[in-house]
Symmetry: C2
DNA sequence: TTTGCAATGTTATTTACTTAACAAAAATAT
DNA sequence: ATATTTTTGTTAAGTAAATAACATTGCAAA
């Protein structure tokens, strides 16, 4: 298998796509297929076949010339690369609509990733089992994160609580954070941070929709 | 102001960052500030001051040398660029946890974007007002999208319904789709599509967390 | 007044990523 | 047998994005 440094040299975008390839491959496997061509994967992911082949080249996987790639093998190889050996435990901080959506959405889907705890400040939620996972008060974060060996925290609290919650996570020794609040947070270098704001995505789509409409008008006006 | 083609030539990443700059600037404005330096914006967004200045150069905004950028002016200029003249109406398809989270999260935050309708197949939701917006059955999508002049659809249905829902949106004449389901969809060229999968993000974070741990172990082992 | 400083604005360079080009291989058709 | 087709795997070229380098400006302090 590829060594540590080779894996780190993989482009970040390739890592993302590997996750997406696996998602698509798992669906194909469910359909009873055993092999798939690069152009088929490409179609699903809205990218080019070359990109797919290049990514697979980078991870050292070879297909067969007329049958394409063995789906089962490829899924396993992607797992070897992006998954950990042991389970990685995840916590959701903020068990509102978004937090609950994530819990439902993740658990049971992946072998090596599991949401094992939720945190909230709402006394009605604390102590309850919500969507199958126990909910704790944020004041217990330090203890629970250590006890359950939680490595990653997903921030789904209201923006006003983002900073405080992220600090608690960091103090509890978390290693990675996904921040879904619209408030950018700061973390030490040893914590991997990914931020995503749905408003930005929507505004971007709105921008290109607007531009397409203006273009349409202009073209029509030109005729 | 910049013309149509100039706006389209802006890098996609710049468009995203403009949205994020505005988000940050609005918070600064609430704090009563009037001016901000590029390095302050940069710090909030975890990027470099040069990047900020370059983006602002691209949109033709100039700050003052010792005071930095006028927050109010910059917010307005970003609005002129990324917002539409008239309101853009948005629909959420799938009023589950994620859909409701989005509704709460968006509405009232932006002048030019508003979620005006939800669609669901659950009879208990149809006809109700959920988080302030009316919920319709998916069979009414065509009518409602046209009546309410809805331009953008946000897909938050279960993966199994993603394809069907996206087809309905397209048939209803939608111009842009944000797909939050884990099932990639296909749309015609004239529909702008943005897909985001939370599992991919989590797996990516898990990968880099794993790599950091392996690195840590290696370093320790080397000592 | 002039020197230094801290900021902006812009061009040049570098890096990261994608796409294109094409050789090689294996199955199939001629 | 030989040519054709289809697909992979890899190197080369091209794009897009980020960073670096640096000129410029205007205020403040000496």
């Amino acid at each position: 298998m590829k060594d540590h440094q080779e894996l780190l040299n993989l482009p970040h975008k390739t890592i993302e796509r590997l996750s997406q390839y696996r998602r698509a491959l798992l669906l194909c496997l469910e359909d009873g297929r055993t092999h798939i061509f690069s152009h088929e994967i490409a179609k699903i992911q809205h990218i080019t076949p070359v990109q797919v082949r290049r990514d697979l080249m980078l991870i050292g996987y070879s297909g067969t010339l007329r049958k394409g790639y063995n789906i089962r093998e490829l899924i396993d190889l992607i797992g070897e690369i992006i998954d950990s050996e042991e389970m990685i435990n995840v916590a959701v901080v903020g068990v509102g609509n978004l937090g609950r959506a994530l819990i439902k959405y993740f658990n049971g889907k992946r072998h090596k990733l599991y949401i094992v705890a939720g945190f909230d400040i709402n006394p009605e939620k604390i102590g309850k089992i919500i969507n199958g996972i126990p909910c704790f008060g944020t004041e217990d974060m330090d203890r629970v994160v250590r006890e359950k060996n939680i490595k990653i925290g997903i921030l789904t609290v209201p923006a006003a609580n983002a900073i405080e919650s992220s600090k608690r996570l960091v103090d509890a020794g978390i290693k990675g954070i996904v921040n879904y609040t619209p408030k950018p947070i700061e973390v030490p270098d040893n914590v991997y941070l990914e931020e995503y704001d749905m408003v930005t995505t929507l505004e971007k789509v709105a921008f290109y929709v607007k531009m397409a409409e203006l273009k349409g008008e202009k073209v029509e006006g030109g005729n």
